[in-house]
Symmetry: C2
Subunit: 675 residues, 2 copies
């Protein structure tokens, strides 16, 4: 028996050298040196912690064991890691020199060395060690019968210190479990800043004990209690993540003002405000001339700040159009009296008053780029968000801020709510190639942040809007700037996307839920096939002018099952490019298989629609795809010659808006084949 | 255009009379009278509330609108229902005479009348009205293009006042979101008691502020804060559900004693206890002779009781084998001194001391059937759970309790953790057909409760263990005792199971998650096909003797993707029975299609296993199914004559335990075909 085992192992070991390109690591480490050996996992695999460790790494190591066991089904013997030096002979040794402090500029580096019988993680802080454990989980490989790690030495550290995700919990409330599972996913991508957008026109989402009116009148019952906030902050801390709250003022204040109309800028003292139910920019704005405004905000900050141990507080400050200010003679008079030339200066006056209110709690003020006016304190952090959609040069404020002496964070280009393909985000570097910046100015660019605005996002579909694209953003912010290969990105994202499921991310599973609902519990294959070539309308086209979707509208529709980077579109793109390069029969078949699939799919959708009203809006677009597929199939298989007019007509049909609020992601390739 | 519309509608309306058998209502209402009309839904559909209403029905009506909109995609115009008489002209009028009180014996009846242009709900209490809204959602029908309700008059009320679900949050912790989504599902099945098992050998799950040690030492960090408990109780209240806490004493106390060893029954004063990590019965038991025991329990009750406004408190009381008591001379002496003949009497002594401690908080004591000893107070509620597995007559204690003057609740026969098929639960009536009971005795049988013990249950797989089988139990407890048609049950359960998804129940979606993990992100079709004929080992065979699975073992395995009532087994059963009755070619094809599917599936599994170690344990069983499928296929298609020895040999193979911890659910039908 012994001999047989050895014989079985020989082919495995001799072929073991894995190539870097085969690894699905993300974000890609700074240095990786693969060697020829393997570390084979068995149920006796154990972890030992040494150094100056703490509950964070004990919990991290325990969670690591459970995830490893869940993947491998090995029935690992070690249950919990609860103190140092528990299992001195353990195969995995983790050493941390000191406790990490959650916040910016902490040492997050680590070294991970995998030897055939031993794995060593060395890190200055436990936060670095947590990152190492994520890398180790990503290193897991398998044969047909066992799981192993390839031997390697990895040294790694982040390029930027701010690698953030913002979630807007105001427009659609996102319960604690949604936040926590996304914190897990962030940690797995080595992200370290969670920016929590807690108040906007559509809702006030944080309990203020002194002012229960806020949540009673402005949350529809959907808000975080202070204890829930604390539990999220603790959960984030355990994963090395800093939480930054945002209370958006002086604009985006409809919810706040619906509870406290007396601090609004409307002329009448008896004016009222209501919570917003639609998308878009609202006019309600705090009155910067009213002392009560600062008194109330001060009390709110006094309640909110202690919940967040980090040193940053986001006050929003964006999209104040000043309409209420312009319309209020009292405010105009105030500007004149105080030598404030325009509304920008008035807003600066307002924002400057907030700085000491936050400093009292040891918090630096952060705001969207509109706060950067000439008299703004250099202590403020500028959050750069505007770009082409706002008719300004993309991320222009970032460079300006760095040059003006502000610390700054980039979100322009990372607006994942726009439903753009991953490549645009991935290739968006926080330090623009063409920017001429001194080392000091560069150092002020702290990093970047993906922004999940939630106009069209609910707990059902939010994960598929955040992931896996945010993993690519995480790589941009962590990895070397030269890591930009798109083929590698796409290949690795497939595995990373799948692995996010083990952290509770629902992007894959909830897609099926939506399709089952649309199908009325019939077979979902045709819907799935169609969803894999459709993408939700991009930028703000799905809800242009905020006219179609209100905050209570259904987001259980086909467009909600579809995602950016439609699954089959990338493969079709590859197939078409290969075919156009070499029209051999294999390449041809890869293309024509897609056409056959879409023709059959259209027939299936028609059949399903007999018992599923929600399929009706899909049929025109599906028919367009079937029509052009039939035509191109005949042409490619030489049963018909190309008729450019006919094909142009068929292509033209794709330009009408689909009632399903999606577009086909294969249009460009259909066009290529039609020429 | 008008004419065309009318013409289009005529065939719909004239064929509109739906039959009762087509409705997928569950639990089936007491009276339903269908008429020939239809109420067609449009986006202008609105709700109006009248009578003595309250926030519960406003929230219920709002949630109803969102669910209806999520299903239909109609973009309903009404956002929130926040007060009485908001929309007097609304098509749906809900009238409640008075506020319901959460608890037993409340009036839960309702009348639902659907007319072609108007729907009326009349109920004594808002709780009845909430039930009516669930029925209305179940009444929703569709054509190919629209959604409608068939006209009908339904009058409905529950047969039993206790329609419960117990969730064991001790053995595997179940976070708040798991509890809340299951409360939603319970409400949709008109269940009204949530029994929350909060402490057992494997964990103490409720924060006691005076004694933080309990959760620090005995929860591994997994427990409910008092605020979380309150939020669950509130959530349940909003859905008409009473929450009953259970603190299991004097046995099942390893966790409690690991924090407070001084009140344990071990002889030594320096004895220690540890939190349980395995399944099975533990010996650690509270010391009933120690005044400190009562002092501590009193303080725990003082902390727990105010969190639960209901009038019931479950103290467990089960499975105390008295081993520690027998081994402790001091305790033996106490028994002698106090004239307690045996451990039963000692336990009664203990339990009786708890009654006033609970009465102080206006709570009646409830316990598992072991508490029913001769001196037990008649105020206690007896929870009947033992049966064949415990070598006693099924539910025997229920009848005994009713005869002895106790109120009683049935759980024997509703142990959903045993992974038995739904029929056994469905046909288990709380009032046994053969029991001779007076009307008064019958009235003491309050109802029944499904019990979700969590030895093998995590947030990933729990929903598929609870649902849809618990829907059948809910029907048993609500509907007329004559509603027992199994074909109707199976047909309706398919739709009900699907609809539970909209409440966030994860049984369907998480199955795919587990299969994706097993497949190592390959195509899951073959695994899905196999999981649809396999069922996890039943009763306690999967973890016999508690030897295989500990509380930290992986529950991400094939057995966790499989469920009771394997999806394809019922259809195969129908196909085989039809074929054996009439061997025509259609019936033959229905059977042989299964065989072809399983033969192909086995080949696919082998192929997938090349890159998926977790598939290896499935292959022997899959091969057995393929082997007998090939043989029976040849026989049925007359390509071979039957060889009984060969077939018996093939069948015999199914009797070895599969390393995948499952069994095929088609064995009996394979055997039928082999004869």
């Amino acid at each position: 028996m012994k001999y047989i085992l050895i014989l079985l192992f020989i082919p495995f070991l001799s072929n073991a050298q894995i190539k870097q390109e085969q690894l699905d690591l993300m974000p890609w480490p700074q240095n990786i040196n693969l060697t020829a050996g393997t570390f084979v996992l068995s149920k006796s695999f154990k972890v030992n912690i040494t150094g100056n460790s703490n509950p964070r790494i004990f919990l991290g190591a325990t969670n690591f064991l459970r995830r490893l066991d869940g993947r491998t089904g090995l029935f690992l013997e070690q249950a919990f890691v609860i103190k140092n030096n528990e299992v001195n002979e353990a195969e995995l040794q983790i050493n941390c020199v000191r406790n990490g402090k959650i916040g910016l500029n902490e040492d997050e580096s680590y070294q991970l060395e995998i030897q055939p019988n031993k794995i060593m993680i060395n890190a200055t802080t436990d936060i670095g060690a947590l990152h190492a454990l994520e890398t180790l989980l990503q290193m897991l490989q398998n044969t047909s019968t066992l799981f192993y790690f390839p031997t390697a030495i990895i040294t790694d550290y982040p390029r930027f210190t701010w690698r953030g995700l913002m979630i807007d919990a105001a427009r659609h409330f996102q319960p604690v479990d949604v936040i926590k599972r996304n914190l897990d996913a962030m940690a797995s991508m080595k992200m370290n800043v969670f920016h929590w957008h807690l108040a906007d026109d559509q809702g006030w989402r944080i309990e203020i004990k002194k002012y229960p009116k806020l949540t009673q009148l402005a949350s529809d019952g959907y808000y975080y209690t202070q204890e829930e906030i604390k539990s999220v902050v603790k959960y984030a801390d355990e994963r090395g993540i800093l939480v930054i709250p945002e209370i958006d003022v002086p604009g985006h204040a409809s919810a706040l003002l619906s509870a406290f109309p007396e601090i609004g800028s409307k002329v009448s003292n008896e004016a009222t405000y209501t919570v917003g139910r639609r998308s878009g920019i609202y006019t309600p704005t705090l009155d910067p001339t009213n002392p009560k405004t600062y008194q109330l905000l001060g009390e709110i900050f006094d309640a909110v700040c202690p919940l967040f141990p980090g040193n940053y507080f986001h006050i929003g400050g964006d999209e104040n159009q000043g309409k209420e200010w312009d319309a209020n003679p009292k405010i105009q008079e105030f500007k004149k009296k105080n030598g404030l030339a325009n509304n920008h200066e008035l807003q600066t006056y307002f924002t400057m008053k907030l700085i000491p209110m936050l400093k009292k709690h040891n918090k630096e003020l952060m705001g969207w780029e509109e706060i950067m006016t000439k008299n703004m304190s250099k202590e403020a952090i500028i959050h750069s968000w505007k770009g082409v959609n706002e008719s300004v040069s993309p991320g222009g404020s970032l460079v300006a801020a760095a040059k003006n002496g502000y610390k700054t964070v980039l979100s322009n280009g990372y607006y994942i709510d726009l439903m753009l393909g991953v490549q645009s985000h991935y290739l968006n570097d926080p330090i623009p190639k063409n920017a001429v910046l001194t080392a000091e100015e560069k150092a002020r660019i702290l990093g970047g942040e993906a922004t999940m605005w939630s106009e069209l996002v609910t707990p059902l579909n939010i994960d598929s809007r955040i992931w896996p694209r945010t993993a690519a953003i995480a790589e941009r912010l962590w990895s070397n700037e030269n890591v930009t290969d798109l083929n590698s990105l796409h290949k690795r994202m497939k595995t990373i996307s799948f692995r996010l499921e083990e952290l509770g991310i629902m992007h894959l599973r909830n897609k099926e839920v939506i399709l089952r609902n649309i199908s009325n519990n019939q077979e979902t294959k045709a819907l799935r096939d169609f969803s894999n070539v459709c993408e939700p309308l991009k930028v703000y086209k799905r809800n242009g002018g905020g006219k179609k979707y209100f905050m209570f509208s259904p987001l259980t529709l086909f467009a909600d099952a579809c995602t950016a980077d439609a699954f089959d579109a990338y493969d079709f793109d590859t197939a078409v490019n290969n075919y156009l390069e070499n029209k051999n029969i294999e390449n041809q078949t890869l293309v024509t298989n897609f056409f056959r699939k879409w023709i059959a799919m259209n027939a299936d959708l028609i059949s399903l629609s007999g018992n599923a009203p929600l399929i009706q809006p899909l049929l025109p677009l599906s028919k367009n795809l079937k029509d052009i597929s039939e035509e191109l199939l005949l042409i490619i298989e030489n049963k018909k010659t190309m008729n450019p007019d006919l094909l142009n007509g068929l292509l033209e049909k794709f330009n009408s808006r689909s009632p399903a609020d999606v577009e086909v992601a294969v249009y460009a390739n259909l066009k290529k084949l039609s020429q």
